[in-house]
């Protein structure tokens, strides 16, 4: 099992992360990546100047490490890579990068999906969007909560060799 979990204070480049991930895996047949990026516009169309992510001491990283450990316990993946930005993020910059590798296509997809659902609802960050006229705190949406709830009691479908 090979993992990399990191909180970074400055902009990072997802293609470079994918490169680093692929370099440290073996001959796994399936690699899935997810990149979450800051938007320039809120749901109501208003401009967003920046997304600010607050973290808290060692707790933020350890919350991510727990999510990664749970993911490896739940799905037959051999490697994962999780980078999370903290601080002030401009539109189109990346917030989070997640990658998984497995012999099995379904396992790689499901594990990346699960990682994101857990990060959205459990990683210790607080987010606010800064607009021209103030800022708005962003909490997990109902969709985020129901996405995360999908996995409760659900065993991986990906235990059979592909």
């Amino acid at each position: 099992m090979s993992t990399h979990v990191e909180v970074v204070p400055a902009a990072f480049d997802p293609p470079t992360c994918l490169q680093q991930f692929v370099e440290r895996i073996g001959d796994e047949g399936a690699v899935v990546s997810f990149t979450g990026r800051a938007r320039g516009h809120a749901k109501d169309g208003a401009g967003i100047e920046a997304l600010v992510l607050e973290s808290y001491r060692g707790v933020t990283l350890s919350s991510m490490q727990q999510i990664v450990a749970d993911t490896h316990a739940k799905f037959p993946i051999s490697a994962s890579h999780v980078i999370h930005r903290a601080g002030r993020i401009s539109p189109e910059e990346s917030i989070v990068f997640v990658a998984t590798a497995s012999r099995h296509r379904r396992a790689a997809f499901e594990a990346a999906d699960y990682l994101m659902d857990r990060l959205k609802t459990e990683a210790v960050f607080w987010k606010r969007e800064e607009h021209a006229n103030g800022s708005t705190w962003i909490e997990p949406t109902d969709a985020d909560q129901s996405d995360a709830a999908r996995w409760l009691g659900k065993e991986s479908e990906a235990i059979c060799p592909e």
Binding site: G36, L53, E54, Y56, R57, G58, V59, S62, S63, M64, H84, I95, V96, M116, L119, K120, T121, E122, A123, V124, F125, W126, K127, R128, W137, I138, E139, P140, D144
Partner: protein, 85 residues
């Protein structure tokens, strides 16, 4: 003798009084549920959020249950709902 501790306020909890507030704690410590009451009482703008049931306490970098005890010298923080990604 009571001693002051800083309680760090994370996320939206910092909107009213800034990033931390001060409380006094007896040598025998303070259960987390009483910490919530003490903060609500001393900093009333925080009362609605603390009463919502969605705030968790973090002591020495571990999220703790309501019956945990905060001691003098501990690092305490209050977490509103988190969201990564």
């Amino acid at each position: 003798m009571e001693r002051a501790i800083n309680v760090e306020l994370c996320g939206k909890l910092a909107d009213s009084y800034g990033g931390s507030v001060t409380l006094y704690i007896a040598p025998c410590g303070l259960p987390v549920r009483e910490l919530f009451e003490a903060v609500s009482s001393a900093y009333p703008l925080l009362e609605p959020i603390l009463a919502s049931g969605s705030v968790r306490a973090c002591v020495n970098e571990v999220i703790v249950p309501d019956h945990a005890i905060i001691h003098q010298g501990d690092t305490a923080a209050l977490f509103p709902p988190v969201s990564g990604g």
